[in-house]
């Protein structure tokens, strides 16, 4: 696994971004919320009109762009990890139960999965935020409650394949409860494909949060969400393209690193079979 280039690059960048998020207060040169009327829309260092002390410039309220980008890592990663945790618990529970019991339980959960797949995620998430009001917690919860479908589909198929395996039968014969079999026998054996799903959904969650915030119905100002920064920047992008290239680039790098990690995991699993 350590020899897989994509996996190492993706994993390395992701670890780096997690460190940036954790140590944001130490890394950020300025307070990400501090405004300065005199220093509005100052360009980054490569531009001749740049100002000292703000290496990536400032936004329309004179807030330091680098500091906001650094703090933005926290929001994206919180949504990414949080939403995947919620959706993983829901999806894996449903999938394992459906796959293990089969029959009408499987039919019901299958119908639930189909229903969820038929709902347009971004639209429903937006509608819920429009009703409840936007905040980081709401966005995280809504995305987590919507993205469980792939976990359920994969967990269900994987469990179906293991249901009649000998180690499952012997655990039952030894008197293990159904709960024990599902949690202790089946779950550890379907971990690998679920990890890949987790990476896909994490990248998804990050991009959906950014999209919701971009549309004004996600994380609310003045929080430095990258999606929100793109939305605020788009009014100034014609003369200052960097206000949208920088936050978009951060989103892209984060999503790419998660995808590379997931692809690497998948390759290694398939190669090992």
């Amino acid at each position: 696994m350590l020899r897989h280039g994509g996996f190492m690059i993706g994993g390395g960048v992701l670890v780096l971004l997690v460190l940036v998020a954790v140590f944001a207060p130490l890394l950020a040169p300025h307070d990400p919320f501090a405004q300065s009327l005199a220093l509005r829309i100052k360009p980054p260092f490569w531009h001749e009109a740049s100002v000292a002390g703000h290496p990536l410039g400032t936004d329309q309220l004179g807030r330091d762009y680098l500091s906001r980008l650094i703090y933005g890592t926290r929001i994206s990663l919180a949504v990414g990890f949080g939403a995947v945790l919620i959706s993983g618990i829901i999806g894996i529970t449903l999938g394992v139960v459906a796959g293990y019991f089969g029959g009408w339980v499987d039919t019901c959960i299958g119908a639930l999965i189909t229903t969820r797949l038929s709902l347009p995620v971004v639209l429903v998430a937006l509608a819920v935020v429009a009703v409840v009001g936007g905040s980081l917690t709401v966005v995280l919860l809504v995305i987590g409650l919507l993205l469980w479908d792939q976990f359920a589909v994969v967990a269900r198929t994987a469990t179906q394949q293991l249901r009649h395996a000998e180690f499952v039968a012997s655990a039952r014969a030894m008197g293990a409860s159904r709960m024990h079999v599902m949690c202790r026998e089946i779950l550890p054996n379907i971990r690998a494909p679920l990890t890949v799903v987790a990476t896909v959904e994490m990248a998804n969650a990050v991009l959906i949060e950014a999209a919701l915030s971009f549309l004004g119905l996600g994380v609310q100002a003045p929080l430095p969400s990258w999606g929100l920064m793109l939305s605020e920047g788009k009014n100034f992008m014609f003369f200052n393209p960097w206000v949208i290239t920088l936050p978009g680039l951060c989103l892209f790098v984060l999503a790419l690193s998660i995808n590379l990690l997931g692809d690497g995991l998948r390759d290694v699993q398939e190669g090992g079979r």
Partner: protein, 306 residues
């Protein structure tokens, strides 16, 4: 085939039922419909009068019955903001979104099919690696950001294409590229994987042994079989595009369903929002149902399995 047909239709009906409940909850329970009708300046007495007049005071199950009966007649409610029937609002926006979705799918397939086939012909070649890299990179680009970058490049810098509105076909080029490039990676991977699997099959070896040309093998034998799962995914992606159109339409100010949804969201116009959710879900359900049935019709193995 008949059993499959009935079971798939039953499932589709159940899903429609479940989604109608979600949409009903969205417009009748999640927010107070009376205050939506009355507007912000209404007094408590006004709200009470409206509840009586519209029947919002009755049990929810009766209101749900009315809601379903209305939907069956094509009555999706009335917009709080404009006072127009929601069905008319949606109907006038369908052409723009349908055009956008079709162009996007066409763009995605036009890239995905040749790339997927070429990559499958030479697995692990530089072309294959390039195509896979493109897929990984493409999947990580936030589509609203891609839209803004395309606006900066082709709209502002080069001034080749219009960047806002939906009056001419040229207005749809950048949005379709934005939306289509998001669907492309998944389609390309599926075509590549399908082609690799098919090309290893015995009947392809037989066809080769019989001296058929590479071209005949590719298009008459391999692609036809590899394309089956692509039908389902195209239907799914088409549904995603209708949902994703809200982002792209708001970036490019295309007067489609997504833009209508976004406008309604920012003003909490619930009847319009729930109707759009219902409409897009219905389109998705019908498309996936058709794709499943088409797959079963084309592939006897799927028919027999059920």
């Amino acid at each position: 085939m008949l059993r499959l047909f009935i079971s798939r239709c039953a499932l589709a009906l159940f899903v429609v039922f479940a989604i109608s409940i979600i949409c009903f909850l969205l417009s009748h329970v999640a927010v107070d419909p009376a205050s939506g009708v009355a507007g912000d300046s209404a007094t408590d007495a006004d709200l009470e009068a409206i509840r009586l007049q519209y029947g919002f005071d009755r049990p929810l199950i009766l209101q749900y019955g009315d809601y379903v009966a209305g939907v069956m007649r094509g009555d999706l409610g009335t917009s709080y903001l404009s006072g127009e029937p929601v069905s008319a609002l949606i109907a006038e926006r369908i052409p723009a979104t349908a055009l956008l979705a079709c162009l996007s799918i066409a763009f995605a397939l036009a890239l995905a099919v040749p790339l997927g086939v070429l990559a499958a012909l030479r697995p692990n070649s530089w072309l294959d690696r390039g195509a896979l890299t493109l897929a990984v990179v493409g999947q990580a680009v936030p589509n609203f950001w891609a839209g803004l970058l395309l606006i900066l490049l082709f709209g502002i810098k080069l001034q080749w294409l219009p960047i806002s509105g939906s009056s001419t076909l040229a207005h749809f080029v950048l949005p379709a590229i934005t939306l289509g490039s998001f669907a492309m990676p998944a389609l390309m991977r599926l075509i590549r994987a399908g082609m690799i699997e098919v090309l290893e099959a015995d009947y392809i070896r037989t066809a080769r042994a019989m001296g058929l040309s590479q071209r005949a093998i590719l298009f008459k034998y391999a692609l036809r079989n590899a394309v089956l799962p692509v039908i389902s995914l195209t239907a799914v992606q088409f549904g995603f595009m209708l949902g994703g159109s809200i982002i792209v339409e708001s970036v490019f100010a295309i007067q489609g369903i997504g833009y209508l949804a976004w406008q309604s969201m920012s003003r909490s116009d619930m009847p319009v929002i729930q109707a759009i959710v219902l409409f897009i879900s219905l389109v998705y359900i019908v498309l996936t149902l058709l794709a499943d049935l088409l797959n079963a019709a084309l592939d006897p193995r799927i028919r027999e399995k059920s």
